[in-house]
Symmetry: C2
Subunit: 243 residues, 2 copies
DNA sequence: AGTATAATATTTGCATACTGAATTTTTTTG
DNA sequence: CAAAAAAATTCAGTATGCAAATATTATACT
């Protein structure tokens, strides 16, 4: 590829690293279910598609595997599967980690971190009118990540982040399996936003007990929504989840 | 390196992947503090040292960074630092995750998993007479990993594993900073082995409550031992931890 | 026709070469 | 002698080539 001119992308630190962009691109594709669970991730075809060589693709795949978004069986890499059996452990981990994170955030947050959480809260609310499922789950994700950043415990916030990411993917898989307009979506979003407000309040007031209780409540909301989606769409979902 | 003959290493799956061996080698070197915290990991010199090209080294570094054992600042990769400030969060995470793991293991263990735990317990006891610090911490590590494997919750056991690994590294850093023979070491090891026995019993009987209580007790033992080491050797330790 | 074997095609894993950026060293100049 | 400029060196990031391993297809033989 001697004479081919290529757009060089600078990453946030100012370094010239396509590899990171490839990683982000593939991660987003997996989380948005543009790459379906089980899909084989072929080095050369991805490289061709993204107009880079195999090297940065290989390195991105290694990161995806480390993050649990991809899996290596033998020597082929594929998007991590998501079956019904993995949902209960995921939700167990999500409940525990979100309680931990909200308690710790309430206890340890600085004013700057609180401000960042508030920004994400506002951003989620601003996104509601669009009714765009992908943007909404992403905004919701970032709100909770901002809370995780305020825990002052990288081990726990990393745990939470990986579980939350997997939950995001699960929700997107459910939506993509049956993306018709849900009549209850607006009330669900309103309730979600309301809970975000009170969670923010508790963290703001450093009310650990309430932050903990609200994590449980928020978890129930998320869980019941997923149950609704799954039971209502069990046919297509089971197909999608490849059971 | 056209004409150079090189030993090809087969990994456990039978695939010809030096990259994984490089990763394991570097990870072990970091955990054994042969590579000290903060040490710069230079791609070309590591490649020369291990007699491979830069490519597998780069891929190993990416994995180490994903595991939190190495850090990238700018474009240089170095062994993750371990300062005094990171100890409280680490121990908080360790207490929480070990309680979770032991509760879940008590609840969910299969007979096969119980057997594996028992094997690791025996192996630790067999290692005691050697008084070899590295082997003992490793045997202890594997005992707890076997418990984690019995949780039936990959999210939680992965969390525990990463925290436990970091704690292992911390202990090794402390020992390597001041590796003189501790007169209390034998009573400490005896108590550790005793606790392993009762932990195994609780998991065997599926006694969740007791498994939880024993996690707290075991954590206190580990924590008090670390405190002893740090306070007794604070001078050299502070130097080692680069504060 | 079905199976086994051979030939072929893909694809991964590693090495090497190249490029450009960043740092260090040297040189030049005020 | 100090400061700035320039040259050189080092090193990360990427592309590409090659060899080994695996998957696939074709062919021969029972």
């Amino acid at each position: 590829m001697s004479g081919v001119m290529k757009a060089k992308n600078l990453d946030p630190d100012g370094y010239n690293r396509d590899g990171n962009n490839v990683f982000r691109h593939l991660r987003d594709a997996i989380l948005r279910v543009e790459l379906q669970p089980g899909a084989i991730m072929d080095e050369s075809s991805i490289a061709k598609q993204l107009n880079v060589s195999r090297t940065p693709v290989r390195e991105a795949l290694i990161q995806l595997i480390a993050d649990g978004l991809a899996v290596r069986k033998g020597r082929v890499v594929s998007v991590a599967q998501m079956d019904l059996a993995s949902i209960p452990p995921l939700y167990d981990a999500l409940l525990i980690s979100s309680r931990l994170v909200q308690r710790l955030a309430a206890e340890m947050r600085t004013d700057e971190e609180l401000d960042l959480i508030h920004q994400k809260l506002i951003h989620f609310e601003d996104t509601i009118p669009t009714l765009d499922g992908v943007m909404l789950t992403e905004a919701n994700h970032h709100f909770h990540l901002a809370i995780a950043a305020a825990t002052a415990n990288p081990y726990i916030s990393d745990f939470y982040r990986s579980v939350l990411t997997e939950a995001l993917r699960l929700h997107r898989i459910c939506f993509s399996a049956h993306p018709y307009n849900d009549p209850d979506i607006k009330t669900h979003l309103a309730e979600t936003a309301r809970q975000h407000r009170v969670i923010f309040d508790a963290i703001s007031k450093q009310d650990i007990k309430t932050a903990d209780k609200l994590a449980v409540e928020h978890h129930k909301l998320s869980r019941s929504r997923l149950d609704t989606l799954i039971s209502r769409q069990s046919q297509s979902l089971k197909e999608e989840l490849e059971i």
